[in-house]
Amino acid sequence: MNDKNKSAAADHTTRPKVVIERTYRAKVGELWELWTTKQGFESWWGPDGFRVEVHALEARLGGTLHYDMIADSPEMIAAMKQMGQATSHEVHARFSEIRPHDRLAITSVIDFLQGVKAYESTIVAEFFPSGDTVRMVVTLEPMHDDEFTKMQTEGFRSQLSKLDKRYGGEKR
C-alpha cells in the first residue's frame, strides 16, 4: 500500500524507544570486547538474577549470537517457577550491524514469551571515544527484550494487565 512511508514515520515517532547513555573511563576496545566476545558478553549481559551462557557469538555482520538466559538467584528461580515459566530460555540473535569500535546492533528473535507471537527486537550500541573516556549510547526497543522477562517476574507485567483491565476491559 502507499501508506508505507507514513506508517514508517509514525513508527519512528510513536514506537517507544529508550536511550541510555553512559561514559566510561576506558579504551573503546575494552568496551567493545564486552559486547563482542563470549567471555565479555557473559560477564554482564542479562537482568539481575539471571546469567547467560553463550553457545555462539560471531561478531561479524549477520553473525550468530546464541545464548541461554538462566535464572540463577534462588529468588528468581522460585519466581519463575511460581509463574509456571522455565528457569532458562534460549535466545537466538544476530549482529545486524557491526562497525568495529563504533556501532553495533543486536537483533533478537523474541519467541519465548507466552502468548506473544514471535517478533524481532533490536538493541543498538554506539561508542564515542574522547580522550581517555568513551561515551556509550544504547538504544532499546522495550517491547520486549529479555528485561521484559525480568519485569514479568517482578510483577510489572501484572501492573500492565491491571491497566488492560482498566482501559481495555470495558464492555461496549
Partner: protein, 116 residues
C-alpha cells in the same frame, strides 16, 4: 473473537500507530484520519475500535459526526512502565561498568559467576 489487547499489542500495529499519530494534533473525525493517515476508511474504523477498546482513544458524538481524540491515561502508564524498564537497564549497565573495571584490572574480561 475480540480478545483483550494488552497495552503494547494495541500499539504494536503500524496502522494503529499512524492513527495515534494523526490524533496527536487533537480531535478528528474518521474522514480526517483517513486522509491524514492515508489508510482506507474500513481499516481506520476497525483500528479505531481496537484503540478505543484498549483505552487509547475516546469518542464523542457531535450531531451526525463522531469525533475521536487521544486519552492521556494509557500513555502516562506507558511512560511509568518505560521508566521502570529504564531502571533495569541502568542496573545492567552498572554491571557492564563493574565488568569493565575487573577487565581493566586483570587485563581480560571477568567471569560473572566467579567474582560475585
Amino acid at each position: 473473537m475480540a480478545t483483550q489487547l494488552d497495552t503494547f499489542q494495541a500499539l504494536a500495529d503500524p496502522t494503529r500507530r499512524s492513527i495515534v499519530e494523526a490524533l496527536r494534533n487533537g480531535e478528528r473525525q474518521v474522514n480526517d484520519i483517513v486522509e491524514q493517515a492515508g489508510i482506507h476508511q474500513s481499516g481506520v474504523s476497525r483500528h479505531l475500535r481496537i484503540l478505543h477498546k484498549a483505552g487509547f482513544v475516546s469518542m464523542r458524538p457531535d450531531g451526525q459526526r463522531r469525533l475521536y481524540c487521544l486519552r492521556p491515561e494509557p500513555f502516562r502508564e506507558l511512560n511509568k512502565w518505560l521508566a521502570q524498564y529504564r531502571n533495569l537497564w541502568e542496573a545492567r549497565l552498572d554491571r557492564l561498568g563493574a565488568a569493565l573495571k575487573k577487565q581493566q584490572s586483570s587485563g581480560k574480561p571477568p567471569n560473572k559467576e566467579q567474582d560475585t
